[in-house]
Structure formats: C-alpha cells, structure tokens
Amino acid sequence: VSAQEREAFREYVVARSPALLRTAYLITGNRADAEDLLQTALAKTYLAWGRIRERESVDAYVRRVLVNTHTSIWRRGRRATVVPYADVPERAGGDDAESADLHDALWRALTTLPAKMRAAVVLRYYEQLSEAEVADVLGCSIGTVKSQTSRALLKLRENAGLRDDPRTALPAGGGGTR
C-alpha cells in the first residue's frame, strides 16, 4: 500500500467508522463484538485497498465483509448465545416511555433472528438500502431478500409478543395475515 493510498484509507476510516460501527453494532447486537467485527472488516479492507478501484464502492465492500465475517462466525457457533438483555443501552434519547418499551421489545426480538436475516433487516431498515443493494451485500437474489425480510417481520412481531399490536401492522402484501 503506497503512502498516498494509506492516507486515503485513513481518511476513509476516520470519516466512516462511526457510522459503520453503528451498523456493526446492530448486526452483532453487542458493543464488544461490533468493535471486533468492524476492526476485522477494516483490516481486510486495508489489505484490499489497492484493488478497490471505485471509491464509491468502498462502503459496499466494507458492508459485505462485515456481514460475511459475522455470518461465518455465527454459523460456527462461536457467538451463538446472545443474552437478550445484555446490551440494551442504558440511556435512550428522544423516545417516550411507551415507544421505548416497544423499541426495546423489537430490539430483543431482533437478537433471536439468524445472523443473515438480522443483517438483511439492518441493511434494509437502518441503512435504508434498496432490495437490490441488500441482495448485492448478502450475495443473494432480490427474491431472497424479499422473502427473508418479510419472514423477519413476522418473526419479530411473534417473538416480541406484538402480533396484535397495531403499531407493528405489516405492510400490505408483505406476507402477513392481516
């Protein structure tokens, strides 16, 4: 890696690592794993830096490494046990008590989803990527993204005990029953 490329990498990391860490946190569900995962993903990005020609695609590259690394760790079962209450942040900002409960319930339900399904939810609803972009990151078809996210929504409602809560009504034609 040349000095110039190294500087470009530094700039990228300083600018993007706070946002990427938030994504890593949502994917892993706890802070220590998120930091570990992001550092690994950034290290792999550093090694591939010379080959990532289009700088616009660096974010996409890092996301893909984040998700792939995490799902492979998850599959190996090393971090499969998640303590649901462990990492719910202590302080919430700008959230009234009632919706805070709803959001905590959704958050805990999220920790029960399989890694890849969870990643699909984070990329679609937090990063607000299109279905095509999510498919690109996960390395699957758009159809798979659609089916994974609609199954995820059903599971989340079920596991959070919110099946009949109007606040979690499903999108029309999204595979729901109502």
């Binding site: 990391v13 860490l21 938030r22 220590a32 290290a43 990532i52 974010d59 996409a60 209450y85 979690t168």
Partner: protein, 351 residues
C-alpha cells in the same frame, strides 16, 4: 411505510445512537491487517509445503510405474497463491450508498478527565449525553466541570468557560475565558495533562478535527508556551500523540457505565477498553459491604501496547433492583499477582 417498518427503523436508530466511536480505528485496522497478513502468509507457506510434499510423493510413484502415472494417487496441488486471496471480493459495480446518519436526538460525546491508576496521570474517558448541535463546545464545557466519577478529576481552573469554538478544515480553535490562565499550581507536568484533556476531548467530539489551537480571551499570542510551558504544547496546533497512545490513556477503563448509572436488571454486561499485558483484564462485582458477588476475567481484543476492548457478562440472580454494587476492572500484576490499574464504577441495579 407501514407501521412496523417505521417502528423498526426507529428502534434500530435509537439503539445505534448510543454506540460510542472506536478510540483509534485507523491504528486498530492497520495492526490487525498486519496480523491477518501474517496469518495468510503462514497459510500460504503451509499450502506450498503440502504441494511440495505431494509432488515428492507423486514423482517416486510415477517412477515406480515406469513413466505411467499411478492411478491410485490423484494429487490436487492447490496453487499457493489461492490462500492469499481474501474471501470477499470487492464490489463489481458502484452502488449508490450514501448512508444517511440517523437524526441526532441527543448523542454521546467522549469527555476526557484525568485519573491516577498508580504510575502517574492518565486520561480517562466518560460518555456524556448532549443534545447540542455544537458537539465540540458541549464536550469542552463538560470537561471544564467535574467528572461524574469522583475517582477522576479535571485540572482546568474552576470558573473557566468557553467563549467560542471555530473550525477551519481539520483545525479547531477553542477560545477560553481568562480563568484558564489561573493555573492549577501543580507544575508543568500536570499542565501538559491539562492540555491533553482538551486536545483529546475536541478531537473525539468531531473526528474530522485533527489539530487543536487554544486561545484565551481571543488572544493566541504565546498563551500556550507562556502558561503551560515548553515541552507539552507550543503555539502551533496541538495533536494527539497517537504514537504514545498507551502512555496517555488509562490502562484499564470501564466505559460502558458512568458512576451512578442504573443497570438494566441484574443480568447485564459491562466493559471498556484496556491496554494491558497479554490482554488479560480481571473484573468483579462487589456489594456495598465489600463482598465479591461475582468475578472473572476477559481477554481484551488486543494486548499492550495496543488498546483493545473487553467485556464482562454478569448474572446476579440474588441481587434485587435498587441495590448498590461496584463494578471493578483491573490488571493483575505479573510480578506478584496484586491488583494494579484499577478502575471502579458504583452503579445501581435496575429492574
């Protein structure tokens, strides 16, 4: 958007909002890249060796068969280079991935204070919440006041206020009131730490800032060298000394909780950063009588001289909501097994 889409997005944003940034992501990524590179090289060497062994076996077999390939042995010598290829490939097409940051409804800022773990002063960090859009100013104002944890301190003279913060490119100029010049009367060594508090706090509040200038009552002329002494700061923009990271920051710190925080029930995790030998952090939870309820240790993600993160998962079935406990984390001395570099946080068990 249907209701669940919206609530899910808000739930994710709300939880993501509380994640503090990595202390030094660039150094972390580069050192880990070195490790991955060495691992891959090791793997490549093993593959090469295997290929050589395979050839060494197949050649005698061929000889034995008088030029005829032996049908019992089908070597598949993988090219040694394949092991050096990363598992992920770069994106083949550009994607419109302008990731919008979540709207700031109160964000966490790191505020640096000073503590003495035993061998002299070190920087300790507390996470404070701010709703101010001017994160640098908010963080510096908090730094000028006492920390939440009384084990730490600020060396800035009492009564110092922020007159203004100006940002130009990667340089932030912080203008403080005249009280800043009162001095702390603790010598120039401590004065350097006073400046470090400022530089680390400002550069943490806005990670695009790399250099910090200090003025007092709008005057830059010689303020730093005159009042803080040569050797720690000069009247040029000051930077974090990243090369001596572990010499500046706390060897062991609990950063998941502030002093006085309430935990989420009697089942929670706490953690932080550490730069300790062999990366081993010891921890315990102690009740108000000083009785140890639970103890353990965790390996930080990297060992000294680098900084890694560590975490303790705590389950305290007998402990009721409202009970006061103390979280402790330390480095066990290699010399005599004693407790060194201790950091503590008194917290209340929540429901």
């Amino acid at each position: 958007m249907s209701p669940i889409d919206d609530e899910l997005r808000r739930a994710l944003e709300r939880h993501a909002d509380d994640v503090p940034p990595l202390p030094d992501p660039v150094a972390g990524a580069e050192s880990r890249a070195g490790r991955i590179r060495r691992q891959r090289r090791g793997l490549a060497a093993v593959t090469t060796t295997l290929a050589v062994v395979a050839i060494a076996i197949v050649v005698p077999l061929m000889r034995a068969g008088d030029g005829k390939p032996a049908d019992v042995f089908t070597p598949s010598p993988a090219p040694a280079t394949s092991a050096a290829t990363p598992t992920s490939t770069p994106a083949s097409k550009p994607s419109a991935s302008a990731t919008a940051s979540p709207p700031a409804v109160g964000s966490a800022v790191a505020v640096y204070y000073l503590g003495d773990p035993g061998g002299g002063l070190r920087l300790y960090r507390e996470w404070h919440k701010t709703t101010s859009p001017d994160r640098i100013r908010a963080a510096v104002e908090m730094m000028l006041h006492a920390p939440l944890d009384s084990d730490y301190t600020t060396l800035w003279p009492a009564g110092t206020t922020v007159r203004g913060v100006a940002v130009e490119g990667e340089v932030a100029t912080v203008d403080l009131s005249g009280e800043a010049l009162k001095g702390t009367g603790t010598g120039s060594g401590a004065a350097c730490w006073t400046l470090k508090q400022l530089v680390w706090t400002v550069t943490a509040a806005d990670t695009s800032i790399h250099q910090v200038m200090l003025t007092v009552n709008g005057r830059p002329d010689g303020i730093v060298s005159r009042w803080w002494g040569v050797g720690c700061g000069r009247d040029v923009p000051m930077v974090r000394e990243t090369s001596s990271l572990s010499d500046s920051t706390a060897p062991v710190q609990i950063s998941s909780h502030n002093e006085g925080d309430t935990t989420r029930g009697n089942r929670f995790s706490f953690g932080g950063e550490a730069s300790v030998f062999e990366a081993t952090v010891s921890w315990s939870v102690v009740d108000a009588n000083g009785t140890t309820l639970l103890e353990g240790h965790d390996n930080a993600s990297v060992g000294a001289p680098e900084r890694g993160s560590w975490q303790a998962n705590v389950v305290l079935p007998g402990v009721k909501a409202g009970q006061h406990v103390e979280l402790r984390a330390w480095e066990t001395s290699m010399k005599d097994g004693s407790v060194t570099n201790l950091d503590t946080k008194k917290v209340v068990i929540g429901r």
